[in-house]
């Protein structure tokens, strides 16, 4: 029973990361989601400090609580809370969290290094000690840091409590893309539940980092859509913050961040001033990461890709690899379905590709995504079938987050609701 109470209490702690620094009590704004992205970026900075986590974690919580209260009382308008949706978010968090607490099992890579990386922070070490860990160079650390950070608030110190943040992050992103699609509240609620039922799977919360990439891409695609409609700089700023998170979550995040960076520059109609700010921000985030890695002597990318290997590929190997990539990608796209539906919708709407800004953007992202998947296996010095069997389902999952908003809009259009 105590564990269930602890899950309830963790929901409250996670929620604090949504109520400050911006005032989230005005439901006409998207400040709740903005706060989450802003706070994750702040936590990233904390994760790099030469300070033991136990020394600052409670102060961050206190700060958020204080500013949350301040925001509540400083809000002048009439406070409107959609009680039924709030209850639904809470319930869906509890249901998935109970599944996580019961099933407990970690994914292969989580056992191999993600959990150990989180232990560096849980056992009061810092980024400096983590940078000396033998498997650290494979991937960045932010997901593991979040795991450890929130685990620190657990009364019993159970490992899975930290992973519940992944559940919260995912649920909030689904709420973000489903909360104002239809005029009717019930229809929005149906959409929210449908997306949760359709996309949720325990494996995503087993300590693997793909769910963080998936969720961040969900946020990015929604911010892009809002930017297309409102053309406000704040959304470009939030996109850059999301891209910054991507490059710190996982090595593949760098590829997705680059793809987003390219599609935004190539497809969006942006004022020159906004474009310059956007590019400078991205450049500064990349530079920041490079400097941090240089300072701590971490390899920027320790993945098994070698130019020599690529140049020595013979035609037979290339055909063998291409055939298997196509085979496995088709199978897992059918299993995941999102990656299978997207090209069909693009083909059905091919006439609008040059007219519709968002469709063009999705088309470009999809093309880059497929190129990325093929390149990742073509250029990797590893037995291709083994590599495909063990990783392609997760690559398909990660990228599918970007298409969710697009699919919702298209389905709404076809159903003429």
């Amino acid at each position: 029973m105590f564990e269930i109470i602890e899950i309830f209490y963790m929901f409250g702690i996670f929620l604090l990361f949504c109520v400050a620094p911006l005032n989230a009590f005005n439901i006409k704004t998207n400040n709740l989601y903005f706060n989450l992205i802003i706070n994750l970026n702040l936590l990233l900075l904390f994760s790099l400090l030469p300070l033991q986590m136990s020394k600052y974690a409670i102060y961050i919580l206190f700060f958020l609580f204080f500013f949350g209260i301040k925001n509540y009382y400083s809000f002048k308008g009439k406070l409107k809370i959609d009680k039924s949706r709030t209850v639904l978010i809470f319930l869906s968090f509890i249901i998935i969290s109970i599944q996580v607490a019961s099933q407990l099992e970690l994914g292969w890579d989580a056992k191999w290094f993600w959990h150990i990386k989180s232990l560096f922070y849980s056992q009061d070490n810092t980024f400096l000690e983590l940078s000396n860990y033998i498997y650290n160079d494979f991937h960045p650390h932010l997901g593991s840091f979040l795991w450890a950070f929130f685990r620190g608030f657990s009364i019993n110190g159970h490992e899975y409590i930290g992973r519940l943040f992944y559940v919260f992050y995912y649920i909030i992103s689904i709420h973000f893309i489903s909360n104002n699609i239809f005029k009717n509240k019930i229809e929005n609620t149906i959409l929210y539940l449908f997306l949760i039922v359709f996309t949720q799977n325990y494996v995503f919360f087993s300590g693997l980092q793909e769910i963080l990439i998936f969720t961040t891409l969900v946020f990015i695609s929604k911010f892009i859509l809002i930017f297309i409609n409102e053309k406000k700089l704040i959304y470009l700023f939030l996109i850059t913050l999301c891209l910054n998170l991507l490059i710190w979550f996982k090595a593949e995040g760098i590829a997705y961040a680059s793809m987003c960076f390219l599609i935004i520059n190539l497809n969006l109609k942006i004022k020159m001033r906004f474009r310059i700010i956007f590019n400078l921000l991205i450049l500064s985030f990349v530079l920041f990461k490079s400097l941090i890695y240089k300072f701590f002597q971490i390899k920027i990318n320790d993945q098994p890709y070698y130019l020599e290997y690529v140049l020595n590929l013979d035609l037979e190997t290339i055909i063998y690899k291409l055939y298997n990539i196509l085979l496995y990608l088709s199978y897992y796209s059918l299993k995941n379905i999102i990656l299978f539906i997207v090209p069909i919708i693009i083909i059905l709407n091919y006439k609008n590709i040059f007219k519709d800004e968002y469709l063009r953007l999705i088309f470009t992202f999809f093309t880059l995504n497929i190129i990325f998947i093929f390149s990742a296996y073509m250029f990797r010095e590893m037995e291709v079938v083994f590599a495909l069997k063990t990783t392609i389902d997760r690559i398909v999952l990660s990228s599918s987050g970007f298409y969710l908003v697009f699919l919702i809009i298209q389905i709404k259009k076809y159903l003429k609701i």
Binding site: S102, Q103, N184, I186, E316, Y320
Partner: protein, 232 residues
């Protein structure tokens, strides 16, 4: 209440039911209420079976292990060191060993029929980390006095590359074929390892006897539970 609203509520209700069923909510809830976290860990990972996390956690508590002993698991699972890892210790402690699911000095592995006369030693890289050599081959219902064996590695282009050809005489006492091939000689990492038997009938069952790298007689046993050991 209009028809549209009734349909919407029906869909909503159905989705809630699916959500509960998909996540096995009541089963999970009962599991949490019935068993505490460490009991659930034992149920999932086993005490001295499978990943044997239960035994590792017991050892950590019982012997207040503050370093990272080398852990060998003779059941092929992901690494298990995560469950007792000490981040302040940089390297694993080679003086102490935790051996899980120890099978004895030798084990027999059935080779998997691949195609024609080709048989595969599956998970060959994993076996090469725990076992020193293929000591002998047992071929069911094979009466010939000798057998010709070719040893292959499958490269990244999916080609079978022959690494060695041997002619082996039968040991008439034990009725098997001693080959004594060191696994490290084949540089197996992530590659597949095959044996081709040139004069056998189709669908013959073949076993490889692997010689263990680790002999318990060479170590002092600190703790033991079934076939899980803590030694130094």
């Amino acid at each position: 209440m209009n028809k549209k609203k009734i349909i919407s509520l029906f869909i909503l209700f159905t989705l809630i039911i699916i959500f509960f069923l998909k996540t096995s909510f009541f089963k999970n809830l009962a599991n949490i209420l019935q068993f505490n976290e460490s009991e659930r860990v034992k149920k999932i990972y086993g005490y001295c079976e499978g990943e044997s996390i239960g035994y590792l956690k017991y050892l950590k508590k019982r012997y207040a292990i503050k370093n990272n002993p080398k852990i060998l698991n003779y059941k092929h699972f992901p690494p298990v060191s995560w469950s007792i890892y000490e981040t302040s210790e940089k390297d694993s402690n080679e003086n102490q060993l935790i051996i899980l699911n120890y099978p004895g000095k030798e084990i027999d592995i059935e080779l998997n029929h691949y195609k024609d006369n080709f048989y595969e030693l599956q998970d060959s890289y994993y076996y090469s980390t725990l076992f020193e050599s293929i000591k002998k081959i047992k071929i069911k219902n094979f009466m010939e006095p000798n057998v010709s064996i070719e040893l292959y590695i499958k490269n990244k282009s999916n080609e079978l590359i022959v690494k060695k050809k041997i002619q082996v005489l039968k040991n008439n006492v034990t009725n098997d074929f001693p080959i004594n091939q060191k696994l490290t000689d084949f540089e197996m990492s992530e590659k597949r390892f095959f044996l081709k038997f040139n004069n056998i009938k189709k669908d013959t069952k073949i076993f490889a006897t692997l010689k263990n790298r680790y002999n318990l007689d060479d170590y002092k046993i600190i703790d033991k539970f079934k076939n899980c050991y803590f030694v130094e």
